[in-house]
């Protein structure tokens, strides 16, 4: 379990209506809405140093904790763990 995943899960766990969130759970079908999308973008920028650009606006980049982690690594130019 990576630190990055834990950080991202920490963000979602404070916002999602479900108690237990796995890294592959579909966030959008579990109450993650547009308000939180913008908070997520702000979180990624302010805390993980990744600015979400127009070209990044694909739902699949933000569909799960694992998807967000993969997105962050790609933006940072890092490989998969």
């Amino acid at each position: 379990m990576s630190t990055l995943n834990a950080e991202i899960r920490g963000f979602f766990s404070k916002r999602m209506p479900i108690q237990e969130l796995s890294d592959d759970d579909d966030l959008f079908s579990n109450g993650f809405n547009s308000l939180y999308v913008l908070e997520l973008f702000d979180f990624l920028d302010a805390h993980l140093g990744v600015k979400v650009e127009d070209a990044d606006l694909e739902f699949d980049n933000f569909r799960s904790v694992n998807a967000v982690a993969t997105f962050v690594r790609r933006k940072r130019g890092e490989g998969e763990e």
Partner: protein
Amino acid sequence: MELSETQLELRNQCRAFAEAEIAPFADEWDRREAMPVETLRKMGGRGYLGALIPKEYGGGALGRIEFGILNEELGRACSSARSLVTVHSMVCHALNRWGNEAQKRQWLPSLASGETIAAFALSEAEAGSDAQAIRTQAFASQGGYRLEGSKRWVTFGQLADLFLVFARLEDQPTAFLVPAQTEGLRRSAIPDMYGLRASSIAEVHLEQCWIPESAMLARPGMGVQAVASYALGLGRYSVAWGCVGIAQAALEASARYAATRVQFGKALAEHQLIQKMLSDMVTKTRAARQLCIAAGISQERRSSSALLDTLCAKYFASTAAVAIANDALQIHGAQGCSGAAPVQRFLRDAKIMEIIEGSSQIQQILIAHYGTKEYYL
């Protein structure tokens, strides 16, 4: 929290302008259902319309608290004037966040100066709080897009030079920047509004309205999720501060009236039931302002509580403004119900604030959904 010297100076400057150029005319504008374009240009000249735009595009790059102070002072004078700053800033904010460099260079400098007035065209007859339900369509056409549909309740839509329009492109909500002079764009005034009557509310009709490909803001499908939500987040904050302005104005008017109006041989302010109303007004006004300041600080710090703080500020400030303006009318009695005093305008404007940029019920739903989790985990 106390304001800094710089913030106090900004407040004094905004107040001086609003008291000279806006407040003395607000009731007349309310009756005429329009503000003079000259006043809008003066607001632009003061930098109020480019308050949040980065300096590289000619804006003022104000901080969130400073932007809030501007909204309070304009709202204290005239909510319609404040609403121009709100909607114009919402468009600028979204454009600065999601626009490409060419779009920013094309529009932000003239938006910052007020040469271009922007309006936010999201709502429709069947799409209010449920923004995803928009029916306006965008079709790929001749290397660009053709817009078909109608938008409602567009603040300053009668005067705007540029509209941020939301339409479905292949069923995906998408945002477009549409100049007012575009062929096929027609607007009509919506008269006799209950409040914010001078904010030139319009219906915008789009018929065979062709725009180039470069007019799309952000990619298809992100119109509501990213662009509108981003704009509305700022709108919610701006409106919350505007409510503090209404509350402050209603409180000041009531305190003055209660001190001078004599009934049963003593000033109204010496009657305990009037004191009860005044004390509630003072408390709610101060509480609303502190919630707005807290929201502004959270936003500037990019705190994890920024969304919740802003929701709470908007919900509390708008309901407080209605209660305070209602008490102000009660204290003024028949005088307040007449056109001779602005308090009836304060009450009508305050009620609108409970509806726009997310109704009180939407705020409550979101606060219940988002704000309670930390208390049961």
